[in-house]
Symmetry: C2
């Protein structure tokens, strides 16, 4: 009973530390210090560091799913929901400025480490991709919904990277404005540019 709570604490604190310092650069001692438990206690709850990472990713997946559901409840119109996505850049501007995007930086790191959990981390991106794609489809852009989702995902990733590098929050606001303009153009004009349609290959087979 008590154990489940400390397990939860471990995952939450590890989540934060992995985000702030990166996975590899976060040691067991760091997490143990944060949670204020002995290093040995740890291995009662998790057999390895990889297992903690897996639990952290599962937590993030759950939180992300809840967030997306909340956005769907809060916003009636698809364009409002998409704006909810765009505005996370502003809502989390302080963290992004210091640590970048939690999803992007994790995926990048795990890819370089060739870590076993990189596929699960990618799933975080997939959640946003699928959700955004559905919203664009509801906007009447069924043909290129996936392209639009990827496009928006890429732009927010790029903004997060540059904000962290240049430490400039004004850039966020400016780019968010442009993304909203881009979204507005889409909703007013009834499907202007239906370029070469189709969907990008979705390699969800895992590697």
């Amino acid at each position: 009973m008590k154990g489940k709570m400390t397990r939860k604490h471990i995952v939450e604190l590890a989540d934060r530390l992995f985000y702030q310092r990166g996975y590899e650069h976060t040691s067991f001692a760091d997490i143990a210090d944060s949670v204020q438990i002995s290093k040995g206690n740890f291995y009662y709850h998790f057999k390895s560091k990889d297992e903690i990472l897996a639990a952290v990713i599962q937590l993030r997946l759950e939180n992300t799913r809840n967030m997306l559901l909340k956005w769907e409840d809060e916003g009636e119109r698809p364009e409002d929901r998409i704006k909810s996505f765009i505005y996370i850049l502003i809502a989390n501007h302080a963290d992004i400025k210091m640590y970048g995007c939690p999803v992007g930086t994790l995926c990048t790191e795990l890819a370089k480490l060739n870590h076993a959990s990189k596929a699960e981390a990618k799933e975080l991106f997939s959640l946003f991709r699928t959700w955004l794609s559905r919203q664009f489809a509801l906007l009447g852009r069924k043909e290129d919904a996936d392209e639009l989702a990827m496009h928006l995902l890429a732009r927010s990733q790029g903004v997060a990277t540059l904000v962290q590098a240049f430490q400039d929050e004004r850039f966020i606001r400016h780019e968010v404005e442009q993304m909203c303009d881009w979204l507005s153009c889409m909703t007013s004009a009834t499907q202007l540019t239906h370029e070469s349609g189709g969907t990008y290959e979705r390699d969800d087979s895992g590697t």
Copy 2:
């Protein structure tokens, strides 16, 4: 005499390894194995691992400057030069798919490590930013040249991140097309949207 060559080899191989595996995840043993020298020889040329990183960044800065100069020679019109920038996504698609953008991933990692050389790494971004800004100014967009440069930089960063995550090269081509379209619209229309002008704060003071 001979020593300068091995020093060069060390920097070149370290450059590649830092890109592929990340700075922290690359050990001395890894570099020594690649260069095929003894681990001790290393410290004749560099006093620490940080010093190797500094040398690697200097090498990248030099290579980047040369590349930008080459682009300026090859392309007469500014729009052609900007296209040279956009097309690095295609030229380096294989590496980007596996390891992401060399500049973005390095800056992100050094920021999380809070490494002393993060300011120098940021300078890599600044080179592109300044160069692109100058090209946009030549296009007659003096007012918002810096915003446009940052915008394009962000978009290619985002593309690189997602390509690495999703392992999909078709996404590169599609986004490159869109960036070129965006550029064409800019050159044909004579300054359509001159929004709130100015330049983002350039924090080049270093931290």
